[in-house]
């Protein structure tokens, strides 16, 4: 008979226990948790995949892995507190315990993009699921053409990974814009950068539209407008990939919670070609 911990680890739906090593505050409602497994190692993940995280006694939610895919010891998750489970997870302190099962889902097509230009377009928290792909692109910089990272956030205080972004700038083109550089009654760091929606960064980005691959993540409205702006530049929906969020329960294609037309977002996605999934996103009340 298998020891209990191995038997549990062998069950695909059973979470592994992990402890929180470090908590980094990113914005007022968002933190990055650095976690590691209590006993066995967590299985490796590919950029764009997600884990199901459980806050013990509260519930379980899908969260994209936001750290470096080459880091085999520590897993990072960047989580915004919006409801019961994410509030519990973002309240964890170093030493706190949570459950992790995964990784699940279809990753970003970083291998398919080899040899071509890559345009990464992120909106708000959407930078978190893209960050492992950015780590991968930078670690294999010589395998890609031009790399542009275009990032839009609501305001300067809501920009994620600002220090890291400065470092990325030495290897790739980075452009950042905010919707609102200031807000009445809110102390926001001074901003002298671009102001406007993230799609306004696209015409200035340098890439070959006929060969570039675009990786896009953010709110669905933002992704829709981004796909349209990329199409205006000549990047067809076949080379535009988006990461979708749908309500999930099992995460492994069993329950149907995450269904979008013919797709189960947990197994067919979360990363899907916009050319394929775009028409389903346009169907109302789906």
């Amino acid at each position: 008979m298998l020891p209990v911990s191995e038997a549990v680890a062998a069950t695909p739906l059973a979470p592994r226990l992990t402890h929180v090593d470090r908590v980094e505050r990113e914005t007022a409602d968002t933190v990055t948790l650095h976690v590691s497994a209590v006993d066995t190692e967590l299985p490796p993940f590919a950029p764009g995949q997600f884990d199901m995280l459980s806050a013990l006694g509260v519930g379980e939610v899908p969260i994209s892995v936001s750290g470096d895919p080459d880091d085999r010891v520590t897993r990072q998750y960047t989580i915004r507190a919006v409801g019961a489970v994410t509030r519990a997870l973002t309240s964890l302190r170093p030493g706190g315990v949570m459950g992790v099962r995964g990784p699940y889902g279809h990753p970003w097509p970083v291998e398919a993009a080899v040899g071509a230009d890559v345009v990464v377009v992120a909106g708000g928290l959407g930078l978190a699921p893209l960050r492992p792909a950015i780590h991968h692109l930078l670690a294999h910089r010589d395998r890609y053409g031009r790399i542009s990272i275009l990032y839009g956030a609501r305001s300067p205080d809501e920009l994620l990974f600002a220090d890291e972004m400065q470092r990325w700038q030495s290897d790739v083109d980075v452009a950042v814009t905010v919707d609102a550089p200031s807000a009445p009654g809110k102390a926001i760091p001074p901003w002298d950068g671009r102001v406007g929606v993230v799609t306004t960064l696209i015409p200035d980005a340098l890439f070959d539209p006929h060969r570039a691959t675009a990786l896009v993540c953010g709110p669905e409205v933002m992704m829709r407008f981004t796909a349209r702006a990329l199409a205006d530049q000549g990047v067809t929906g076949e080379r535009v990939y988006v990461s979708l969020e749908r309500s999930m329960a099992c995460g492994v294609g069993l329950c149907g919670h995450c269904q979008l037309g013919p797709f189960f977002v947990c197994v067919d996605g979360p990363v899907l070609r916009h050319g394929l999934v775009g028409p389903w996103l346009a169907v109302r009340e789906l």
Binding site: R80, V82, G123, G124, L125, G152, A153, R154, E158, T177, D179, A180, P181, S182, W191, D192, G193, R194, V195, G196, V197, T199, T200, P203, D204, G218, P219, E220, V221, M222, M223, F225, L244, E245, R246, S247, L260
Partner: protein, 155 residues
């Protein structure tokens, strides 16, 4: 007057005939603004239309605790359409963020040309309308506050 050659390179005139471009160039002057320079000021007479060739411009409103940046514009773009619409006053301040190279089209000259040539008027108006509708779309998307929590993608 500047050569029509420089003007012909700007995307704003892409739909104009070469004759129309030559005509338009009679209103044009090449201008350059250093970083921090005020290109125009809210409330003043809108006396030009700027076809920006390079550089970043901030559109801003004056507020008691400093300027509020409404939008930044970069690359080749058209700056200002208040010259077309009475009372011909700028609605914002425009400030050069870095070195800005532009073609300034004199508003009086431009209005006279458009009045004399309905075909030119139609093309220029259509171009401006496309720009206005683009900027309106951007503004609407920003008003939606898509990064707010209530816009979780389908969750």
């Amino acid at each position: 007057m500047m050569t029509s050659h420089l003007l012909a390179l700007h995307p704003f005139v892409a739909d104009l005939t070469s004759e129309q471009i030559v005509t338009l160039s009679t209103c044009a002057t090449a201008v350059r603004f250093a970083p921090g320079a005020l290109i125009f000021r809210e409330g003043e007479t809108a006396d030009a239309c700027y076809l920006v060739r390079a550089g970043q411009v901030a559109l801003q409103l004056h507020a008691p605790d400093g300027p509020l940046v409404v939008e930044t514009l970069t690359g080749e773009h058209v700056l200002g359409w208040s010259w077309l619409v009475p009372p011909h006053r700028w609605r914002f301040d425009a400030v050069a963020v870095d070195d800005v190279d532009a073609i300034s089209l004199d508003a009086g000259c431009l209005r006279r040309l458009l009045g004399d040539d309905p075909a030119l008027h139609a093309v220029v108006s259509r171009q401006l309308l496309a720009i206005v509708s683009d900027r309106l779309e951007h503004t609407r998307v920003r008003l939606l506050d898509v990064y707010g929590h209530h816009h979780a993608a389908g969750v």
